[in-house]
């Protein structure tokens, strides 16, 4: 194995999906001197604090490492490093921070004709350092040994050397086998032919220039962003209207339908085999619409979405009645077909399912939902969750991946104990505004970030829900941790406000306020980050770690819609707040009003829709509005 690794190791080091181009000559030299297993001696010194703790280097578990030259115990301005060749411990400080005895050690060894003492290991982090380059270095063998020890020796019961590789983590694979998916950005400007084609067969969205001479009513309307149109309540259908408003302004979904990717006339024709005049395959809208009238039996939610997008983005501002859509949805979800109040979240799931089902039927091809290549609903909303369950006795970890179209979050339990809060507060700074952060820390207000922290926190499964460990072959106490392996383009967070207590046999609504940020960084909740927190900086290719998932750009999200609920469990009202060109609009069925962002911040969020920042066309939408 090691020779194979060597050949791969020559040029590019990949650290959690990123490439660093500088191989350290000293590390390469060290490796070539110790061909068989250069870090064998170190492996016996690896100490892991249980369970799933950090790795450290100690010759003896109770050793207090001190610098061999000055007796410094590390901390302060220096760190302690053990030479991987001779195990001598020395302190190291960056230039200006004092002497570096580790560098001096490497230098003196070279002076004595020895050499090869440049590589040292940080005794508290078990990370490699080159004293000559004065930089952190990465070695695949070393890192995989550390990760292995960490996953294996998760408890005190199992000393690291008695372990026979009980891990699900795959061995390092050659890098070229890992597919790197990336779409290069290519700017596009239409050539004259394309320009004339676009001009002749489309009307520009912001066609205010040509129509500014029409009546004053339309001119005042033009100040509003495109696509803002009220939806009539068809009898307790605010649950539907609220979700539809959010979906109508979901950037990737809007772009899909407005760019004619799902043409309702064409779609009808395709599914209707006994239709008339479909021989040549050229779509004639007028013929097709006749066709549509003849054939109402085949329902397609995507077609109704297409119709709704056309209607909403027409210049008509009169409230629109999504009656046809409602009818189609009723046919899809017969158990929900009534004029009673429904749950908006249930509707959301059900209608995405409806769009998906239709496409599935059409293509008759197996698709994995998690990849999001099956239909527009899943391409936009579907992500993949990762769940690790680690046995507390032997450290065996089983990992499962589940596709999801949204993330349901528990509201944090009533705050009172500050100790509990502290542990859930690890990632706030990267997200919240500073003042919000302080206020939430003081008064114990629930935050969306807090909910996400709780969602991805390692959770000790109780004795009543022991998990079957494949290694021990019995049910054992275990540690469970959720993380997000793949982020969707649009993240929908659903807050579990409707609580059901099985002991009291009753349900109730939780009215507690939840603070949510307008910009959200999801990076801390990605599997790659969660694993990095568990294992430190390693080049071990973590199972399922994708380069695109660790791309920081795509982990930043912007809020664009909030579905709020007021009232009780059995009777209430849904209202959606939309953020268009950085201005908030309240969509209350047929009525749309511009509101201050403070009203949105104070609202009781039930579903929050976040879109990846690079798809949130903040700047360009402003131009359109201006």
């Amino acid at each position: 194995m090691s020779s194979k690794i060597n050949s791969n190791n020559n040029n590019n080091h990949r650290i959690n999906g990123q490439i660093s181009l500088q191989p350290c000559p000293h590390l390469a030299d060290f490796r070539s001197r110790h061909r068989s297993n250069p870090f064998r001696a170190l492996q016996d010194c690896l100490r892991i604090k249980p369970p799933g703790g950090r790795a450290a280097i100690r010759r003896d578990p109770s050793e207090v490492p001190l610098c061999g030259a000055c007796g410094d115990s590390g901390g302060g301005r220096t760190r302690l490093y053990a030479c991987v060749s001779c195990a001598a411990v020395h302190c190291h400080a960056p230039p200006g921070g004092g002497p570096s005895h580790a560098a001096a050690h490497a230098e003196s060894a070279r002076g004595g004709g020895g050499g090869g003492h440049e590589i040292a290991v940080d005794v508290d982090r078990a990370e490699l350092f080159c004293c000559a380059c004065r930089d952190q270095v990465y070695d695949r063998d070393f890192d995989s040994a550390v990760v292995l020890a960490q996953t294996a020796a998760s408890t005190l019961h199992a000393p690291p050397h008695s372990v026979t590789t009980p891990t699900t983590i795959r061995l390092p694979q050659p890098e070229n086998l890992r597919k790197r998916r990336r779409v290069d950005y290519r700017p596009w400007t239409p050539d004259p032919r394309e320009r004339s084609l676009m001009g002749s067969s489309s009307s520009p969205l912001n066609g205010t220039v040509s129509d500014s001479d029409s009546n004053s009513d339309s001119r005042s309307n033009d100040l509003l962003p495109w696509g803002l149109r009220g939806l009539n309540n068809l009898g307790n259908t605010c649950f539907m209207n609220s979700v539809l408003q959010a979906l109508l302004h979901t950037p990737p979904l809007r772009n899909y339908f407005l760019s004619d990717r799902h043409n309702r006339f064409y779609c009808q024709k395709k599914s209707n085999c006994n239709g008339n005049g479909n021989g040549d395959g050229i779509v004639n809208r007028r013929n097709a619409s006749n066709n549509e009238r003849n054939n109402n039996s085949r329902m397609c939610l995507a077609c109704d979405m297409d119709a709704m997008f056309s209607a909403v983005f027409s210049r008509d501002r009169k409230p629109y009645s999504p009656a046809k859509f409602l009818y189609s949805w009723w046919q899809h979800a017969a158990n929900l077909a009534s004029y009673e109040q429904q749950d908006a979240h249930e509707f959301f799931i059900s209608m995405l399912d409806g769009i998906h089902e239709k496409v599935e039927k059409e293509r008759r091809k197996p698709h994995s939902q998690g990849n999001g290549d099956c239909c527009i609903a899943h391409r936009v909303f579907s992500g993949i969750l990762r769940s690790d369950v680690m046995c507390m006795t032997c450290g065996f970890t089983s990992t499962t991946y589940d596709p999801c179209v949204d993330i349901s979050l528990d509201l944090e339990p009533n705050q009172g104990g500050s100790a509990k809060m502290a542990s859930t507060k690890s990632n706030h700074a990267s997200n919240g505004e500073a003042d919000c952060l302080n206020s939430s820390q003081n008064s114990g207000i629930s935050t969306l970030v807090g909910c996400l922290d709780r969602f991805t926190r390692p959770e000790r499964l109780g004795t009543d829900q022991k998990f079957f460990c494949q290694q021990c072959q019995v049910r054992q106490e275990s540690l469970k941790q959720m993380s997000i392996r793949k982020l969707p383009l649009v993240s929908c967070f659903h807050i579990k406000r409707f609580e059901h207590s099985s002991t009291r046999k009753m349900s109730r609504k939780v009215d507690r306020y939840l603070q949510f940020p307008f910009s959200l960084d999801m990076a801390p909740y990605l599997s790659s980050s969660i694993l990095r927190r568990r294992f430190g900086n390693r080049i071990f290719p973590f199972d399922g770690d994708e380069p695109e998932a660790s791309n920081e750009l795509s982990s930043e999200f912007e809020l664009f819609a909030v579905v709020t609920h007021t009232g009780k469990l059995d009777a209430g009202h849904y209202v959606t707040y939309l953020r268009l060109s950085n201005q908030w609009y309240k969509c209350d069925d047929a009525w749309i009003t511009q509101v201050n962002e403070n009203i949105v911040r104070a609202a009781q969020g039930y579903m929050m829709f976040y879109v990846q920042k690079m798809l949130y066309y903040k700047a360009s939408e402003k131009q359109v509005a201006a």
């Binding site: 960056p94 921070g97 004065r134 502290a422 690890s426 706030h428 952060l437």
Partner: protein
């Protein structure tokens, strides 16, 4: 009486230091041996993340790497650049909390 004549020569300062650790070193070793140091470091890590200190340092590092080009920067350079800023920007409340914890430990260790 001239007792000073028979007294063994006073060891010089350097030798003395090597044999007997200073108070600070003793405390440090006690902290490590009891595992309290690790707990303190964990607490400090958590607090520095919470208050945004870590993000601030990350941003400084990023800016520095951007300026220098990512192939011309070592960990040592980064530590050198952020150390003065990092030390200066640790909130006083965190320092106070840690000091409180260390005091408590010393009292309990002395008993």
């Amino acid at each position: 009486m001239r007792p000073s004549v028979n007294r063994p020569p006073t060891p010089d300062v350097h030798e003395n230091q090597e044999k007997e650790p200073t108070l600070q070193e003793t405390i440090n070793i006690k902290l490590i041996e009891s595992g309290e140091k690790e707990r303190l470091m964990e607490l400090l890590r958590e607090r520095l993340v919470e208050c945004g200190w870590k993000d601030e340092m990350k941003a400084i590092c990023r800016a520095f790497i951007k300026k220098k080009g990512r192939n011309n920067v070592t960990v040592d350079d980064l530590v050198h650049v952020i150390t003065p800023k990092g030390r200066a920007s640790v909130p006083d409340s965190i320092k106070a909390e840690l000091l409180q914890r260390i005091r408590k430990f010393l009292v309990s260790a002395a008993l």
